[in-house]
Symmetry: C2
Subunit: 421 residues, 2 copies
């Protein structure tokens, strides 16, 4: 163990202890008090616009010198509109319905004991993210509103921006009398800090990685703390023999091409061998500017389709590329998804209600859709108001995760002197 690792362990342990203390204060705050503190943080972000943009300039200059890709620089870049959107996001989280204190269920036992399950915060949540500085505000606000203390560890390329945003939020919390340790930013860029966070079982209750595949994979491989994340979104649209051809084209093109880089994008188009409109469907996708890699039967539909390798069926392109396979009905589609999917979001297009219900029942994914674009896989679109991420894990929370996924519950038992016989 290097000295740096030991330093980071001590740093994270200290931050987590302070966070735990802050979480207790936060757990006792009313929903109105928490909202007021977030509103103050939103106002502070707005009034610190100049300082935040100056810090961001510093990060951008350093990033360009370091040769960051234009995609990374775009994620890093802030402008007045993005700062305003970030503040609006914090204010919107302030308005969300508070899950804390909600009674999940209650029972009166024959012996007179009254049982309730009541939602409480998880405790201390670590967020590990990359270049987008807005995560500092988003994730901090979601944790705060759900009564959790957040330990934020942003990418080193965004460190000045993150620090400026965090300082603004801290000023807001201070003005509202909220505990400052409820939203902490790890002050060192060392990767050992992430290792210390992932190892901090008992100190940190959950870690949420927000970023590219290599970050998520590292977190999932190393963490001794529960992880809320998805690694891949290998999503399928299955066009059934009974699909409406217009809906099939609209949904497949939207699912792939609306935004190709998001986790809800379609990666594989499955076409029922019995579907008559296959050529028009594949043609529409190609005409929209999508490269299509297919099996022999898909190539037969359109000569522009290129040969898919075995690896294509397991690839998340996040680009204007899709794989296409011909399958034998719903059963064939389910078997393909079972073999190659990532349990994120899969959709069927059909007018056959029985086929749709079978697909909904048997596809084992966080989100299963009928006659809708996979691009709807999003907490905002689901009416959750915001999301901390989408989970493809099976435990705790699945699919888009917002405030409720950041809570747990406890059992309250009220008696009158009962002892167990």
């Amino acid at each position: 163990m290097t000295a740096m690792t030991q330093d980071c362990d001590a740093l994270i342990a200290g931050m987590a202890t302070a966070a735990r203390r802050a979480a207790r204060t936060l757990a006792a705050m009313t929903s109105i008090e928490k909202s007021a503190a977030l509103d103050a943080a939103a106002r502070a972000i707005r009034s610190d616009e100049a300082a935040i943009l100056a810090a961001n300039d510093e990060d951008m200059t350093r990033g360009k010198a370091a040769g960051l890709s234009s995609a990374m620089l775009d994620r890093l870049r802030l402008d007045p509109a993005r700062v305003a959107a970030m503040a609006d996001g914090v204010a919107a989280v302030a308005e969300l319905r508070d899950p804390i204190g909600r009674v999940i269920d209650e029972t009166l036992r024959p012996n007179g004991l009254k049982l309730q399950r009541v939602r409480v915060p998880l405790g201390v949540i670590a967020i590990v993210y990359e270049s987008r500085p807005n995560v500092t505000a988003d994730a901090g606000a979601l944790c705060f509103k759900s009564g959790n203390a957040a330990i934020l560890r942003g990418g080193s390329e965004a460190r000045a921006s993150n620090r400026a945003i965090h300082q603004a939020m801290q000023r807001g919390l201070a003005l509202a009398g909220a505990p400052l340790d409820a939203i902490q930013l790890v002050p060192v860029a060392d990767r050992a800090a992430v290792g210390a966070m992932l190892a901090a079982a008992g100190l940190i209750d959950m870690v949420v990685p927000r970023g590219g595949k290599s970050l998520v994979a590292r977190v999932q491989a190393e963490a001794r703390v529960p992880v809320l994340a998805h690694l891949d979104g290998i999503n399928h649209v299955y066009v059934d023999r009974a699909a409406d051809p217009g809906k099939a084209i609209d949904i497949a093109v939207n699912a792939k091409m609306r935004r190709t880089g998001i986790c809800g994008a379609m990666e594989t188009l499955l076409i029922d061998r019995g579907y008559a409109g296959g050529a028009a469907l594949v043609g529409a996708l190609l005409d929209a500017g999508c490269t299509v890699r297919g099996d022999a039967a898909a190539i037969a539909l359109d000569p522009r389709v290129t040969v898919a390798e075995d690896a294509d069926w397991d690839t998340e392109y996040l680009d204007a590329i899709a794989s296409a396979a011909i399958v034998d009905g719903v059963a064939g589609a389910i078997a393909h998804i079972d073999a190659h999917g990532s349990h994120h979001t899969d959709a069927i297009v059909t007018e056959d209600k029985a086929a749709a219900e079978r697909f909904l029942a048997e596809v084992d994914s966080a989100i299963v859709m009928h006659n809708a674009s996979t691009q709807f896989a999003d907490g905002g679109e689901f009416g959750l108001g915001a999301e901390i991420g989408i989970s493809t894990g099976r435990l705790h929370a699945r699919g888009p995760v917002a405030l409720e996924g950041l809570t747990t519950y406890k059992w309250l038992v009220r008696g009158d002197g009962q002892t167990r016989p």
Copy 2:
């Protein structure tokens, strides 16, 4: 990696693949079909009584020769009454309300999308347990009823008994036409099999250790698969200044002495400095046969109280021993529990409703009780019908876990051709 480890990895991977297939069949079975299969398994256990007892004789003979403690031999031992209770337990699980398919919530979005969250099985659950052979039947039945395939790995000391019970249940499942791979028993006694189960992320969805502290600690330390467990039950009864003295004595004595070896037993008695009945309370516990180790103020209450070492406050005795400390009111009790508790079950005894509500709100444990014995911490007592265990983890399920804790949910989205703008 030894050859045995590789063999075990292959064995567990093969079992898990078969389990996954069986889980899909199981997920499509109706509640009535699952109940019928469990009833058939219960009948098969009853009719195999002689074979099960003969197998158990074999284990007992081997156990005695190996010098197992009398406590271990008692846990291992079956008799006609215990076999009947095991069959009754399986039949009782068959009658529990099936959580699968239950709609948790539903929303209609402004764009016409209909969203539902629906309960589905977790998938493949591994149970790692020690000498009690009844876990084979209990855990297998709970997993089955909740639509999960179970991979059971019992203690090697109970291997003949477990095999006989498992064979009976398999015959029941076969008679009912249910998939046999839904309840599998690991056929080797090698410890490497447990290692392979704990490493099988992606193949096994959750592992539940049922047994002593060293088993649970090993599972929690090694697992790459989510674990549902509690390590310690360091439970507190806090007697407030406003406690009814009769209730305080009844609850403290019951919480410690009814059964000293269960996880819900009290380990530490906290007495408010302002409580007048301290001497009678400690005296009653001593008179009931409990050794009491206390701080100076507790020793002053009764000369039979011996000196508590620092380690006593963090010790789960699971025996007729308790520690006792004098604290300053509710705040002092909460601070002590915060420093030394294991987030399992803690109780307050008081007639002061405000003090009770503060304790219920601020003690961060899976179960928090007012005027009731901690020995009620049990799925059966909570009306859950049975329990797979008690979780002190914060994610997924907390406190007594029965069928609902063995499920997850998925999002179903029903549209009419919607694409995302």
